[in-house]
């Protein structure tokens, strides 16, 4: 098209049509854009696609929480089984079998298709012999037992204070878990969700190492017997500390209240108290072999308070000293019985 020549009639029409089409296109686009933008900005809150947020609340993170199963991971009570099984001896595998046998046998707790979370105490980067962590041989025996009972998957989980990888490695617990056929879950930043624990006074909402628990059906705690500088004794109840994230260093401001909340938060299938190595002083970190005593005992229990009280009397050998106050606090919530002599106890000597 050149400006030199006058347009022919048909050219003129075509040109106008083109112009009109273009105008309509642009006008339509402009209208749609402004209408869309207005809807997003002005539509009442709650309407589909509306971004309107008059008070600024909409932009804050939504406090979504998760909850653990209502009765925890407990199994139905059994009449013919003890509540507290104690096995003494040297052979860890046999002792563990005997201790769990005393409370009904592993088949009572773990069946086919169960996804079982095992929580050892891996808190510090210390060699197993120093007694600051769960004994690897106990973890190995426990995972093997659970797998033999038919569990679909066993997950070994902890969020230690020191670097998780080094803790699992140095304590020998990673090797024990993997060799026995478990998967080790090391925490990553995205693995935590806010856990809502009804009735907890201090940690009602707290970041929880949720990922391995998402589809888990059973939870077993396996904790060493340790002296503790602040709460005096760290055993199966204090062990759940390692499932939490966030600002755990505030817990020391009311450690007994926290442990009572932990007992409320996690109702496990059962717990194992590892008395193979007893860190009887300088806890919870230890660091010297002279702080460790051979305990030659394993305890399995559906009542973690009873198990811990037994550990206090028998393994830490502090019978007669008053129990740390978290026992009473937890007992008041009916989470167990710290007077372990009142529960059904079965003691077995192995080998």
């Amino acid at each position: 098209m050149s400006y030199g020549d006058p347009m022919s009639e048909s050219d003129e029409d075509a040109y106008r049509r083109e112009q009109r089409r273009r105008f309509l296109k642009h006008a339509g686009a402009a209208a749609a854009l402004s209408a869309g933008a207005s809807w997003l900005a002005l539509a009442p809150p709650g309407a589909p696609l509306s971004l309107r947020d008059p008070d600024g609340e909409g932009g804050k993170p939504r406090g979504e929480t998760i909850e653990l199963p209502k009765n925890g991971y407990q199994v139905a009570a059994a009449n013919n089984a003890a509540d507290l099984g104690v096995a003494r001896g040297e052979n860890v595998a046999k002792m563990l079998k005997a201790a769990i046998g005393a409370i009904g046998g592993i088949a009572r707790f773990v069946g086919r298709d169960d996804i079982v979370v095992v929580k050892p105490n891996v808190a510090f980067e210390r060699a197993a012999a120093l007694g600051a962590t769960t004994s690897p041989e106990v973890l190995y025996a426990l995972v093997s037992l659970v797998r033999d009972a038919g569990a679909r998957e066993v997950r070994v989980v902890d969020n230690p204070i020191e670097s998780p990888e080094s803790c699992f490695e140095r304590s020998g617990l990673r090797e024990a878990a993997v060799r026995a056929g478990a998967r080790v879950y090391l925490p990553t930043p995205n693995d935590f969700r806010t856990l809502y624990t009804r009735g907890a006074t201090l940690i009602e909402r707290w970041p929880f190492f949720h990922r391995p628990f998402a589809d888990a059906t059973k939870v077993i705690g396996v904790a060493p017997v340790k002296d503790h500088n602040l709460c005096r004794a760290s055993m199966t109840t204090k062990n759940w500390y390692g499932l939490l994230g966030g600002r755990r260093n505030q817990f020391h401001q009311d450690i007994h209240g926290i442990i009572a909340d932990l007992a409320l938060m996690m109702r496990p299938t059962f717990v194992v108290l590892d008395g193979v190595r007893v860190l009887h002083r300088s806890g919870p970190t230890g660091g010297s072999l002279s702080d460790v005593r051979a305990g030659r005992t394993l305890v399995a229990s559906t009542d973690s308070l009873a198990a811990d009280a037994f550990g206090w009397d028998d393994l830490l050998q502090r019978k007669g000293e008053p129990l740390p106050s978290y026992f009473a606090k937890s007992a008041r919530r009916k989470l167990g019985n710290p007077s372990w002599r009142e529960v059904r106890v079965k003691e077995v000597q192995v080998g």
């Binding site: 670097s163 990888e165 090391l186 990553t188 020391h252």
Partner: protein
């Protein structure tokens, strides 16, 4: 895979690829021609480089030579030899590269250097230049001298005892960039992806893909923005000048360039075959003028010119005799012929062996280096007065002046540190001289008691290899005692039991030494609200404190911890001890 040049095979025909070339050589001489082998080598070395960074982690380390590239870097070896008069541990490996360079020239730059590969790849991927503008972008420019000035300044400073090559040495720079900026970002992306998958019901174990697996908190690094900005800027410069960093800035390239003047092999142009079409410039990575007098010190030996020469005039061969044949003639009058044959004159060979830098400029750069040393050293950080309280060096470090003779700012120690406590220092802790050297920041992490990994990976001995016995003061090191990196102090005004009638003592619980370096005064008081509380008020036993900083890390007074570590009392320096009694550095 490239297609054949001379005899374009039929598209889509399978056998055409395996057909012999027009010069009757078999197909594989084309498929495995040297430029393709070079690409394979570049991919291999880049992969190896990333793999070794990936392996720089507690659970993967094994016996991998994770600092291999830094040790192979002859500039690291040479500059530390200048500054310390010693060659540490594996740094002799630089000799291997030295030998290769003396044989073949700067092959490192285009065959091995992962940073060079990155530049070349990005330049190729985002290239929009074609034809003449592509040729012109590969012509030599005066600015390419700058790298020799940079090298001179760094080497002169090294001779005075301030090692700054790490600022721009490509290997140090790339290791640092990966450590501080790239891998943390990559890890966050992987972890986020894992969480998304988990929300969809999948639960894959992605820890093998993470550079730093097994931590509940993502790694963070001070000054990551600057390191990140630098890599984006330097790599982006390839769009303006191809291989900008390699040609203009790289001190290692300059060092190898100086050496390559003695190289036995070089690209040779057979002037009787050459038609002066300049096509060889099309892919010339080093801007080495293969179409004219070859600049040997600029040539990266990428062999692209051989690939691009339609006349077969270029070859890689032993340094040719200094007398070469030349066709007589001119553009205007045409080639001179005699009895129908080209007239050949014999004349001197064409190459520029040495870097083209005038003597006076060398001198200027040297003087600049001489001046730079006192400029940097007179800042307070290095001296025994006024050093920064937060310049806490990792265990095994040598005293500060020696540290600065050795540290190449590669940040491998920071990469391997499992707790994220090691941080690249910013201008605040070390001044310009200490920029990006490792310091411990206990608000981020803490020094793990049984860990000596940083001392293992350090290529130059700024952090000297120490055994666990030495770190903890066991066995034969009993007399010397444990290595202390600093001393912890209590700020009673912020401590919960001391100032706020609130029980706490996380610090005592986590203190890892036996016996504990933190003790408590236990006291039962009636609080303002009438409640009886027992307060364990902590105090420090400085003889026992090793400065690991876990107390500071775990202190609930997060922003300005009530217990904090400063550098005083470190055993690496006689001048920075705190207590009169107790073991002294030897």
């Amino acid at each position: 895979m490239s297609e054949a040049g001379a005899e374009p095979p039929r598209k889509g025909s399978r056998s055409a690829f395996f057909a012999p070339n027009r010069d009757r050589t078999p197909w594989y001489t084309r498929a495995f021609r040297i430029t393709n082998v070079r690409v394979a080598a570049q991919a291999f070395f880049f992969g190896l480089f990333v793999f070794l960074l990936w392996a720089t982690w507690f659970s993967r380390l094994g016996g991998y030579p994770v600092s291999l590239f830094l040790e192979l870097d002859p500039l690291v070896g040479f500059a530390t030899a200048l500054s310390t008069h010693t060659v540490y541990r594996w740094l002799w490996r630089g000799l291997l590269l030295l030998g290769v360079t003396l044989l073949f020239g700067r092959v490192f730059c285009n065959w091995m250097c992962p940073y060079g590969t990155l530049h070349q790849f990005v330049g190729w991927l985002f290239n929009i230049r074609k034809n003449k503008s592509k040729l012109d972008s590969n012509r030599y420019r005066g600015a390419f001298q700058i790298k020799y000035f940079i090298l001179t300044v760094f080497l002169v400073m090294a001779a005075f005892g301030s090692l700054q090559i790490g600022l721009l040495d490509p290997i140090c720079l790339l290791v640092r960039t990966f450590t501080v900026a790239l891998t943390p970002a990559f890890d966050v992306a992987i972890a986020e992806g894992g969480a998304r998958l988990h929300a969809q019901g999948f639960d894959p174990d992605l820890s093998a893909f993470l550079f730093a697996p097994g931590a509940a908190e993502a790694r963070i690094f001070g000054g990551a923005w600057l390191v990140g900005l630098l890599i984006v800027g330097l790599v982006g410069m390839n769009l303006v000048i191809p291989r900008f960093f390699c040609r203009v800035l790289c001190p290692l390239g300059a060092f190898l360039g100086v050496l390559s003047r003695f190289a036995i092999f070089r690209i040779d142009r057979d002037v009787t075959k050459c038609t002066d079409c300049d096509l060889c410039l099309k892919g010339c990575e080093g801007a080495a003028d293969p179409q004219g007098a070859l600049r040997k010190s600029e040539c990266f030996v990428c062999f692209n010119c051989i690939d691009d020469c339609p006349e077969g005039a270029l070859s890689f061969r032993l340094t040719p005799p200094s007398i070469v044949d030349r066709v007589v003639g001119s553009v205007k009058q045409g080639t001179a012929t005699l009895f129908g044959r080209k007239v050949i004159s014999r004349r001197l060979g064409t190459e520029v062996a040495a870097p083209e830098v005038p003597k006076r400029r060398w001198v200027f750069a040297s003087v600049a280096g001489v001046l730079a040393f006192p400029f940097l050293r007179f800042s307070k950080s290095v001296n025994e007065r006024g050093f920064d309280a937060k310049a806490i060096r990792p265990p095994g470090s040598v005293a500060e002046p020696e540290f600065l003779e050795r540290c190449i700012k590669c940040d491998q120690c920071i990469n391997v540190c499992p707790t994220n406590v090691l941080q690249p220092s910013t201008l605040a802790e070390g001044g310009l001289e200490g920029l990006w050297t490792p310091v411990m920041d206990f608000s981020v992490g803490f020094c793990q008691l049984n860990c000596t990994l940083c001392s293992e990976v350090c290529p130059t001995g700024a952090i000297q290899k120490i055994s666990l016995e030495k770190k903890l003061g066991l066995k034969e090191h009993k007399e010397a005692g444990p290595i202390r990196v600093g001393t912890a102090f209590f700020n009673r005004g912020r401590c919960l039991p001391w100032a706020m009638e609130t029980p706490c003592v996380v610090c005592e619980e986590v203190c890892p030494v036996t016996p504990k370096a933190i003790g408590t005064y236990d006291e039962t008081i009636t609080r303002w609200d009438g409640e009886q509380v027992t307060l364990n008020k902590p105090y420090m036993r400085p003889e026992l404190c090793i400065g690991c900083g876990i107390c500071e890390r775990e202190c609930p007074v997060l922003d300005d911890a009530a217990v904090y570590v400063t550098a005083i009392g470190e055993t690496r320096s006689q001048d920075r001890t705190l207590l009169l009694k107790g073991p002294k550095p030897s």
